[in-house]
Symmetry: C2
Subunit: 491 residues, 2 copies
């Protein structure tokens, strides 16, 4: 291992970029804005996928798959939608290359021009609602509760690994309902599923809320979101669930005959989380030594490192290590015994710290004599000498404790970084000195929101679902306001 | 349900297309050549994915993710590769749309032209080897054993659901090794993994072999394949594993320092199976009543249908049905109790036949009195009255028997349809009258292969790995040949 990571306190951004690369999570590819998700990073994403997929299925959803390409004209069918996505989409115009006449390589074949250009999906509402049109005739065909795991492309100009990439992986749920109430319930159910996942698996506390009109999904009547706070005081939107009303049903003419025989437009929702969650996971917990992974998403729960001077000592250590490994694997934990002789224990310690493995067991000859091992926690860096006897029963409890402790630490940090501002001066001071979430009164207009954003780079993250009503005055215009909303600078 | 499917004997192609749509497997989308994989079809694909993914991991592979887009120039780096894929690829030329000046909608923004066009990946060798370049320095970095699950695009002109679509889902393994031997072993290991999966999960017997030069992957030194036979006598290539030699390592300058300190190019393999397997699964086993699914891949193993005249009877039936359901679920089987009152039992029987559910249990009031149920096998259409007592212990055995019987039936059919031809006349007669696999002598030249293909539409499916050596004369040229190869018309 080369020298350590940059320090968070000195250059948070460099720390993040280096950590993502050195911990083998992801790297930039030769294609602008597109990342390579490396095997270790992908194994974390797989755990996220599996967990979420089960949660979706437990709430009655099934997976399906829709085309990568969207005819250009589809995008235009919903006015806000095209406005939101047309400016940053990859456009396929041709379907063939040919050898250049001058032998300089391959060029686009002008004779293979598409009649209508295709957009690489930035999100799939249009192509999916065009399909649902054929799936729905009567109320008996509803609800449709479908999810897809897919790649999408949004041509972002400034990209950062996981946080903002031109191509990213995500899931997008698209549901269709007979009533407005049912669609709203679905929208709320899914934001709750996301909050459950992010808090209880990722260990990241979130605020559930509604987006202001400015920040709403292009084509939605209401966007529910969960907002998390990173260690540098910036917010990160971790998931959104949209109540689409009848917008896409109208755009794609999706109607059903109700029990009463009347023809009506279907009500819709869509909801998604993406590989952006990887960015949130990394930034919420990790430290200057590397990743800190919550056990519920760690690809390796426990690593065992043998400490020995003479090769003869390794055999007895290996026997004990393999016993512990097997006992824990039988209980469903993932354990790695790293007995490579190409690297020293110190190197290995640093490596698994960098990779965020929650528990490390070190075993040396003296440990064997005493029937003990050294057990080190990644999150607190506590080290203890513990008895081997019964260790497979204590480690599961300890992993639960770590999961809980990681969440509590993030929650304390988050709670300490929610501040109230009653004047614009105070607001700007907090933003510059502390960051974090700021609860402030706002007059409810997009104009004011836009001005605050332009002047301070802070946006309204959400209007919390459990918000208290409180009379007050907009920090910017002084106009009356009935509740505080949550502002922050955000990723 | 509307009228039945077309009959296989009358119009195999129409039968297939209708079955795919009516059994809710897939449908064509509005985007030419791109399909929608519907929830039921996708649930079968998910079972395939999960099974294969475990097999890949059990053989030491991990998943990762590489970009959707490939810079045009990358494709040209390997000469055969560009020749093979340039003629049918989707080309991204712009990254933005804008509102048309005449208000007619959105148009491509000419100012947002990419400096270098991007190809939507038809396969990922180029972008992956360009990445491996940075991952490999010494022999300690090898082997790289990586797989990715992804969508790819090949602009096929004539498409058919699952069998040939412009976009399809697949997995592509890409491995890098220090020695030629190790790479060849990996190539062989993976064709064996595929054969294991296709035979033991899909219930489809395969012939393992090598492709002739004409049919080889563009950029490979050797392509291993598994070839299956469909009920209409046409062959289907079910999976391929390529030994790439040092071709891509040379094209992308991927070198490593060996134990001896020498700098050498890395040896590569790639291997893939796709949603095409869904087509093979459907065509190998299904009948005029619908799908026949092997239990190892069936999303629902057992469906229970209540038969009753009076609503009061349903409760007692439901109790018993739910007992059976629970007992089977506890053993890991998927059971559906269809107690919908909107459809009659006859409708449900036809529906689950269409969907290929391996076992159907029907329970009526008289069954309850007798402590029996009617148990029907989808594959043989056998119906038996069986005792409820202990049914949860007999059904697992029966499902194993069905799995086995489906495979054996396909194997008998396949074996009956391997014929030898010693003259070109005989060859053409078998092709037209029987189809199937034809073992014939061939002089080993691409020219002869090409001529036979043009005249008969039959191609060399493979040179079997376990081929007997036999002196003979090429059926086309009369030139000497040392072994028979396998010809067929193919999907």
């Amino acid at each position: 291992m080369s020298k350590g990571l940059p320090k968070r306190s000195e250059d948070y951004s460099a720390w993040y970029n280096e950590l993502v690369k050195r911990a083998d999570l992801a790297e930039n590819s030769a294609v602008r804005g597109c990342m390579v998700i490396k095997p270790y990073g992908f194994s974390i994403w797989e755990k996220m996928q599996q967990t979420l997929d089960k949660m979706f299925k437990d709430t009655g959803h099934t997976n399906a798959y829709f085309p990568l390409f969207i005819p250009k004209s589809y995008l235009s069918r919903e006015a806000d939608h095209v406005e939101g996505f047309a400016k940053e989409c990859a456009v396929v115009t041709h379907y063939r290359l040919k050898n250049a006449d001058d032998g300089s390589g391959v060029v686009v074949d002008p004779e293979a021009k598409l009649e209508e250009e295709l957009i690489v999906r930035p999100t799939s509402e249009t192509v999916i609602w065009n399909t649902y049109k054929n799936w729905v005739e009567s109320y008996r065909d509803l609800p449709i509760l479908v999810n897809q795991w897919a790649n999408v492309v949004r041509w972002e100009m400034r990209t950062r690994l996981f946080l903002r990439t031109a191509e990213f992986l995500w899931q997008e749920g698209h549901t269709a309902h007979a009533t407005k109430d049912e669609a709203i319930k679905e929208t709320e159910q899914m934001i709750n599923v996301y909050a459950d996942f992010v808090e209880n698996f990722m260990g990241v506390p979130v605020i559930k809320g509604l987006k202001s009109e400015n920040e709403r999904f292009a084509g939605a009547l209401e966007t529910y979101c969960i907002e998390a706070l990173m260690q540098d005081g910036k917010a990160l939107q971790a998931g959104t669930s949209h109540f689409l009303g009848q917008n896409f049903a109208k755009a794609f003419d999706v109607k059903f005959t109700g029990k009463d025989g009347k023809l009506e437009h279907v009500w819709g929702t869509s909801w998604g989380v993406s590989t952006r969650l990887m960015g949130a996971l990394i930034m919420a917990h990790s430290d200057d030594a590397g990743l800190v992974l919550p056990p519920n998403l760690a690809p390796i729960h426990v690593v065992i490192v043998p400490i020995y001077k003479k090769d003869e000592q390794l055999q007895a250590i290996s026997e004990k290590a393999n016993q512990i490994k097997k006992a824990l694997q039988d209980k469903g934990y993932s354990v790695k015994f790293d007995d490579r002789d190409t690297h020293k224990p110190g190197w290995k310690f640093a490596e698994y710290e960098l990779k965020g493995v929650p528990l490390r067991i070190a075993i040396g000859p003296r440990d064997l004599e005493n029937g003990t091992v050294e057990l080190a926690r990644r999150d607190t860096k506590e080290k203890n000498t513990v008895e081997i006897e019964g260790i497979e029963n204590r480690i599961p409890d300890l992993l639960d404790e770590i999961q809980n402790s990681i969440f509590e630490r993030a929650r304390s940090f988050r709670d300490e970084n929610i501040r109230k501002a009653d004047t614009y001066e105070e607001f700007k001071k907090i933003l510059d000195e502390n960051g974090g979430f700021i609860k402030a009164h706002w007059d409810g207009t997009s104009e004011t929101e836009e001005k605050i954003k332009n002047e301070t780079k802070a946006t309204i993250r959400c209007i919390p679902l459990d918000n208290e009503m409180e009379e007050g005055k907009c920090i910017y215009t002084g106009n009356p306001s009935k509740q505080r909303v949550i502002f922050a600078r955000a990723y």
